[in-house]
């Protein structure tokens, strides 16, 4: 297999990057167009001659967009912190300790992560309704556990398994208890794995749609994906505002992806290949 890249290869690469990024590029260009140029003849012009930030202002003035951002941040952060915390113990036990039924438990975790959300929504909806948790942060954090916890356990198990077992043996020789070994030896080494897991869980919670759509219906408690999707009115769709809002939520993601791409890729592909 040739390992050197030729000029043709870079042409292909440029085309690929362009195709993938085109929708974003177009949305970015549309977000600075004045309303009149979003429709009609000028709708297909790439660049506007009258760039404006009106759409961006409108997103924050006419819609509770800041509130959506805050809601998503709170819900995704709490979900991530608490599920990764619970999962870290379970994953450590599954990866490093000897006890019966490990494979079954891991299989169960994997199976649960494949559950279709729609199969759990009606009882969960009735549950949060009964306890008055609709339109609250807790009302989303509880259902988000359904996908966040299995995901965290699954990823952390692969990370914990990669830490050399000799270290534990050495700690045991020195007379450390399993919990001491965990906190003093394993956990510090697992920090990168825990961090990667947190990023992936955070993204999953940030992007969740179905639970958020059904449980938090009040404007005050909507999350970003549902909030933006509900920008569209019955007859009109405010494309300018939607473009601006899309750009606003995409930029932090782009920064995050640029900063942590190595980690995210290692998390996504961890264990999907034999090592």
């Amino acid at each position: 297999m040739q390992k050197k890249a030729g000029p043709l290869f870079y042409v292909f690469l440029a085309a690929f990057v362009f195709f993938v990024m085109f929708p974003f590029l177009w949305i970015l260009l549309s977000s600075v167009k004045p309303l009149s140029e979003l429709f009609g003849d000028k709708a297909f012009d790439w660049f506007t001659s009258h760039p404006t930030v009106k759409s961006y202002v409108s997103v924050f003035v006419n819609y509770p967009f800041l509130r959506y951002l805050w809601n998503s941040t709170v819900v995704a952060t709490i979900t991530t912190v608490y599920t990764v915390f619970v999962a870290a113990f379970a994953a450590y036990a599954i990866a490093r300790l000897e006890f019966k039924g490990k494979a079954v438990i891991l299989g169960l975790v994997l199976a649960v992560s494949m559950f279709p959300q729609i199969a759990t929504i009606s009882p969960i909806y009735m549950f949060v309704k009964k306890f008055g948790l609709t339109n609250s942060y807790l009302g989303l954090i509880i259902p988000y556990t359904t996908f966040a916890l299995p995901l965290s356990i699954w990823l952390l198990v692969t990370f914990f398994r990669k830490i050399p077992f000799d270290l534990e043996e050495a700690a045991k020789m020195d007379g450390a208890t399993p919990m001491q070994t965990y906190f003093k030896v394993i956990l510090p080494l697992a920090v990168p794995g825990v961090f990667t897991t947190s990023i992936l869980v955070f993204i999953a919670a940030w992007n969740e749609f179905l639970f958020s759509l059904t449980i938090n219906t009040a404007e005050k408690f909507k999350t970003v994906p549902v909030g933006i999707a509900m920008f569209q009115g019955q007859y009109t769709i405010p494309w300018g505002e939607i473009s601006a809002a899309t750009v606003i939520v995409t930029i932090p993601l782009v920064i995050m992806v640029l900063l942590f791409q190595r980690r995210i890729v290692s998390g996504l592909t961890s264990g999907s290949v034999k090592e």
Binding site: G107, I124, T145
Partner: protein, 441 residues
């Protein structure tokens, strides 16, 4: 001997520690994921509707809505008394008979001590113009009493209606109305068994939705696999700008599906959508508007948007698999004179098999339960042509507020997903768990 015992103790301690560390996570998973699935199945056996007060919860037995009863019976009783006072002799006898029947029924209800207690409490609350507590409002009745009640009320209503026809009553509409109000206070058990499944499975809409889901899944996953493999093979080399390409790949994956769906809706727009225009220009669609308003166009649009969002991710997974294939194998093969195609079919594909299967498993399941993308992009339309089974279940549950029927559909989705997983896991063998293969969103 001693050493052995201490070893055994140590093992035991480790086992106990293991279970106690796993326990919290396991309990949470049981409570928030497994229990709801079981409950979904349970709900699906009932005629469970949120918008109908007599069906808004699950009743295995007959019960009596005390609130409804006490909002009618006392008033009916006094109205009858007034009628009796002024009625003719013949009517008086009939009315007294009615009054007695109702009185006897009332006694039967109150005979049970517990029911009697709740009866008083609800009555008191109503007299104070408060709405009574949920858990005392509804009381269970045995089937016999419930049937007796229903029959008595039916008789009474019939008698009173006859009297009204004959013009014997002073306040005919009030009396008959109150008596009719008693008809709705018996709540029948809403257990329907597998009726929802039978109805769903004989409903063309379900089969259409299943077909749409299958079509969407197979086409999008197949295209994603071929494109993803192609891209992975091409970028499996050292080149300038790797980081940039990797970031490019991750962005579509990272943005919320709902947001990307909305973005595509803009690009596909029949009047102002740039992608719609380009598609029309190159002759892919007849008119720009065809993309979202025709059945074929809408399905194509949804698949195209999904391919855009997940092909890069597929490429990433396969690239990781490719990078584990030692290059020495290819070197040896080319020395032996193998062509590129032979190298691909004899080395790359066999060694990539488990990576491909894992990627396919997760992508197939994701595609099969697709919701956000289609809900935002087409809403299942036009004419249900992109309605997938998850969307259908959601609509039945939350738009028609038919939780029983919707839950049955949700259980069907669950079973399909289970079957798909089993097929893949059979193909993968034990690889998945022992290798701790994961390829997650």
């Amino acid at each position: 001997m001693k050493k052995e015992a201490s070893m055994r103790n140590e093992k035991r301690a480790e086992r106990i520690l293991g279970y106690s560390l796993v326990a919290p996570a396991l309990l949470l998973i049981l409570a928030v994921a497994i229990w709801p699935v079981i409950q979904s199945f349970y709900y699906s056996l009932f005629d469970y509707r949120l918008n109908d007060p007599t069906k808004s919860s699950i009743h295995l037995n007959y019960s009596l809505d005390l609130e409804g009863y006490l909002q009618n019976y006392p008033f009916l009783k006094s109205a009858l008394k007034r009628e009796i006072a002024t009625a003719s002799e013949k009517t008086k006898a009939t009315l007294s008979d009615v009054e007695q029947k109702l009185g006897k029924m009332d006694e039967t209800i109150r005979a049970d001590k517990e029911v009697g207690n709740k009866y008083e409490q609800v009555d008191e609350a109503l007299n104070n113009f408060e709405s009574p507590n949920e858990d005392i409002k509804i009381v269970e009745l045995n089937e016999q009493a419930a049937n007796q009640f229903t029959n008595t009320v039916k008789d009474v209503v019939k008698t009173l209606e006859q009297l009204r026809e004959a013009g014997e009553l002073k306040q005919p509409d009030k009396v008959v109305g109150l008596a009719q109000g008693l008809k709705g206070v018996i709540i029948e058990p809403n257990f329907v068994g597998l009726k929802h499944y039978k109805e769903s499975l004989s409903d063309v809409r379900l089969w259409k939705a299943l077909w749409n889901t299958t079509l969407f899944t197979i086409v999008s996953v197949a295209v994603e696999l071929v494109l993803g493999l192609g891209i992975a093979l091409l970028i499996n080399k050292a080149f300038f700008g790797r980081g940039l390409v990797r970031a490019t790949i991750l962005i579509p994956w990272a943005i919320p599906t709902a947001v990307s769906a909305l973005m595509w809706k803009f690009l596909y727009d029949g009047q102002n959508g740039i992608v719609a225009k380009y598609f029309a220009d190159i002759g892919l669609v007849h008119r720009m508007g065809d993309l979202l308003t025709t059945e074929m166009g809408a399905m194509f649009s949804v698949i195209f948007a999904d391919v855009w969002k997940t092909t890069p991710y597929m490429a990433l997974l396969l690239l990781a698999g490719l990078q584990t294939i030692p290059s020495s194998l290819y070197e040896a093969a080319s020395i032996d004179g193998a062509t590129k195609w032979q190298q691909f079919t004899k080395i790359t594909l066999p060694l990539l098999k488990s990576s491909i299967l894992v990627a396919l498993l997760f992508r197939t399941l994701d595609a099969f339960r697709v919701f956000d993308l289609i809900y935002v992009l087409t809403g299942g339309g036009p004419a249900n042509s992109t309605e997938t089974i998850s969307i259908l279940a959601y609509k039945v549950m939350f738009s028609q507020t038919n939780f029983g029927g919707g839950s049955a559909l949700a259980v069907i989705v669950f079973l399909c997903v289970a079957i798909i997983s089993i097929i893949y896991i059979k193909l993968l063998g034990a690889d998945l768990l022992s290798d701790s293969a994961s390829a997650k969103k």
